[in-house]
């Protein structure tokens, strides 16, 4: 709202269309945010008591080898110079080499990020398709067994350690029942069958028409995605319940019922539509958190994803990898906020 108002005033003064001002304001704000984030991460990273040279040369290296790599990494230069070079490289699309994998950071990200997108997308799909209906039902039948069940599920989702849940899931569904695939993205029989196009195995297998590989990939992703979705499902269902309760106590709901509309029609057409804007925010945030915060699930399920990559980079003092990840996470937050902004305009006419 505020952005649009200001843009409108500025546009009127300068005789430019309002969308130009919107784009300018949003774009400049995104750039300043990303620059600030990068600067903060860079300088904080340099203060960490971790030596990235050791990660490359090994603990037993002699001083000449150590010094050679120290200089190669530019660590002998003043911090602001290092940051300048880093920004120059970033702007030219060069993230440098990751010290702890030995590869170009961009190549690593092309490998790990699709794996995480695939996992997080399925997880959020499960989280939303289960969490939203449960939240709605819990609000509609407040105080009923359904509501209690939703609360218990919410409590478990918040409080159960993912590590434990992951292992228990593996024991039950993989080892005992044999319903799902084990750790990793594929069984050994299916590795290297499908050409890599998007890096998302389900998509790549579908493009290649390799449905057996697709089914195997799906059997491997379903458990980690379900485990990952559990916490976000709890989060989404609890907030859906609160939003719905707030709407259901409004007078317009009563008025609609008095007019003769059915209970579920009122809930669907009036109450639920009014919480849609808030839900979009909640779901978007949950999705971004899944994209960058699935470290434990990725470890238990041997999932070569973004969260583990970021944490491994941090522990190795690998600032090239960490900064590239921070840039991506920052961009994700900004992009998803923008998408939310657009969705608000579609869902709520008052924001147009």
């Amino acid at each position: 709202m505020a952005v649009t108002d200001v843009s409108r005033k500025a546009a009127v003064q300068s005789k430019l269309p309002p969308w130009v001002w919107d784009a300018w304001r949003i774009g400049s704000s995104a750039i300043v945010t990303l620059l600030g984030l990068l600067a903060l991460t860079f300088f904080m990273g340099r203060m960490l008591p971790i030596d990235p040279v050791i990660a490359i040369v090994g603990e037993q290296a002699d001083a000449s080898t150590y010094d050679m790599v120290y200089k190669q990494l530019g660590l002998d230069r003043p911090l602001y110079v290092q940051f300048g070079y880093f920004m120059r490289d970033m702007l030219s699309g060069n993230f440098g080499n990751a010290l702890f994998t030995g590869n170009k950071v961009s190549d690593d990200l092309m490998r790990v990020f699709p794996a995480t997108i695939e996992l997080a997308t399925i997880a959020i799909t499960i989280g939303v398709s289960v969490g939203v209906p449960i939240g709605v039902l819990a609000a509609v039948y407040r105080g009923s067994p359904i509501d209690h069940l939703a609360r218990i599920l919410g409590l478990l989702g918040y409080s159960t350690p993912t590590f434990w849940l992951g292992l228990m899931g593996l024991v039950l569904f993989y080892a005992v029942l044999g319903w799902v695939g084990g750790p990793g993205r594929l069984d050994v029989f299916y590795i290297d069958i499908v050409d890599r196009r998007t890096g998302m195995l389900l998509v790549d297998a579908a493009i290649a028409g390799e449905w057996e590989v697709w089914q195997n990939a799906f059997s491997h992703i379903v458990l980690p995605a379900s485990i990952l979705s559990f916490a976000s499902m709890a989060f989404i269902s609890r907030l859906t319940r609160s939003f719905m309760l707030a709407q259901l106590s409004q007078e317009y709901i009563l008025a609609a019922r008095v007019k003769g509309l059915s209970k579920w029609k009122v809930i669907r057409k009036h109450a639920f539509r009014n919480i849609a804007v808030q839900l979009v925010t909640v779901i978007s945030l949950a999705y971004v958190i899944l994209l960058e915060g699935a470290v434990v699930t990725e470890t238990v399920f041997a999932w070569p994803g973004f969260g583990r990559y970021l944490v491994s980079g941090l522990l190795a003092g690998d600032m090239n990898a960490v900064l590239a990840c921070v840039l991506i996470v920052g961009t994700l937050f900004i992009t998803i906020n923008l998408i939310c902004d657009l969705l608000y305009r579609i869902l709520d006419p008052r924001t147009r």
Binding site: D51, A61, A175, I191
Partner: protein, 536 residues
Amino acid sequence: MRTVLASSVVLAAFLGLAAQPAVAATPKDALVMAWNLDALITLDPAQIGEVNGNDIMINVCNRLVQPNIKDVAKIEPQLAESWSTSADGLTLTFKMRKDLTFPSGKPATAHDAAWSLKRAIHLNFGNAANLKEWGFTSEKVDEQIVAVDDLTLQLKLDKPYPVGLLLSSVFSSNVSSVLNKETGEKNAKVTDGKSDHGNGWFKTQSDCVGPYRVRTWNANDVVILEANDNYFGTKPGLKRVIIRHVPESGAQRLQLEKGDIDVGRLLSSDDLKALAANKDMHVEQTVMHGYSYFAFNVADPILSNPKVRLAFRYLVDYEGLEKTVMAFQGKARNSLVPTGAFGALNEKDGLPFKLDLDMAKKLLTEAGYPNGFSKKYILSANTFNPAVAQHVQANAAKVGIKLDLEQMADANLFSKMRAREFEIGQIGWGAGYPDAHSMISRHAYNPDNRIESKLAQYPSWRSAWFDEAINKKTDTAMMEKDPAKRIVLYKEIQEHMLANGPMAYMFQTVRPIAIRKDVKNFQIGPFKVDYASASK
């Protein structure tokens, strides 16, 4: 209600799609291993400095010679069929096998061997020290390493070192892997006038002489090796080796029990105990040439007292820990030369200490600290380290020593110890080759104790430990050609270090590997896990 029904249908479809018939076993022609591949950053033999890379590439790139897989002090021919030294001991000549070929079928010659050794020096990664330590330098290497013809490799030495020591330390190590010179030169990249000698290419691919070749490496995911059909030696028992990145012990155990992997390489003590009791499994424990120990910074006035350091050695219940915290992880040993290495003390003499609080108290009193003192004790937060450190801390408290434990990431611990920024530090070290010189030359010998010399590759320097007599004895032992005399000298050094040294060695590292019993003939030694020997 319709929403609930729709959700239920979606969930049911979900589970239906996921459900699939369980695959009974791993492929008959492949060895499937699970390991934590986090540390694997390069496949270039000149650069490899960690366990994963060594373990994999020793099965991909043969070396000029190799230690016997079980009796590691015995060196055997590999790519070189024989060797000889000149009368003055200053020229070492290798005769290469005639039937060596790279996976492409191109013959491998002494020229490839010479190029591979030289590039290791020019690249100056950590492994270059293996050559630099014996007088090879970047400036002189073209005269020092010469391919006389396709089958003859000649090396000029600066001193007449005992040939057994050279073979063990240099020519069975990574740097003596024979890489394809043509591939290296074709893929070399020059930056600021300096060539990478194909490092960019060899980091992720292989072109050398060995039973396997690298087919795929997806970092933090999977490594796939494929049998080299042009290998001169015995053909591998299994066509492929698939190493999957599974960083969690519980997940590895489940996969082993289910038969989705054949070999588990990183398992916790609890999981190993359970697997050892499983009739379908075998847990192979190999005593490695590495140590877990705590080091004292002898620049500290209190820790410079040998009696204080000796007292600490009586604060550890070696046998008790071996059976509990260190089960499947370590074997108690105090001497700095590991069992199995040339010149090592026998098992009894190598473990003279036991938990004895009265003795520790007596030594502290004699040292002038009857009421103890306080010290900071740094350690890695990984694996068994915190439990062992807490054990030392508890026993130290009983004799009046207050130890403040500080756990940290490995990289941080290494930095602090390399910079001498510690009082007591618990850490590990792996000997590079099975000869007493490997440990003694780093842990007892210190060429220059000045802080500005920055000899961080010497743990002795890190501990500010300097003993002129031990330095001389190490030099004498290194040049001694009579093996029996060398053994005597090493025995004296070990005994001296047990009583005075700056490190309290606790455990020789044990490498547990859980293997399904349908994998046969899998040969495992401290310096090589021989993938090619396995069959099903």
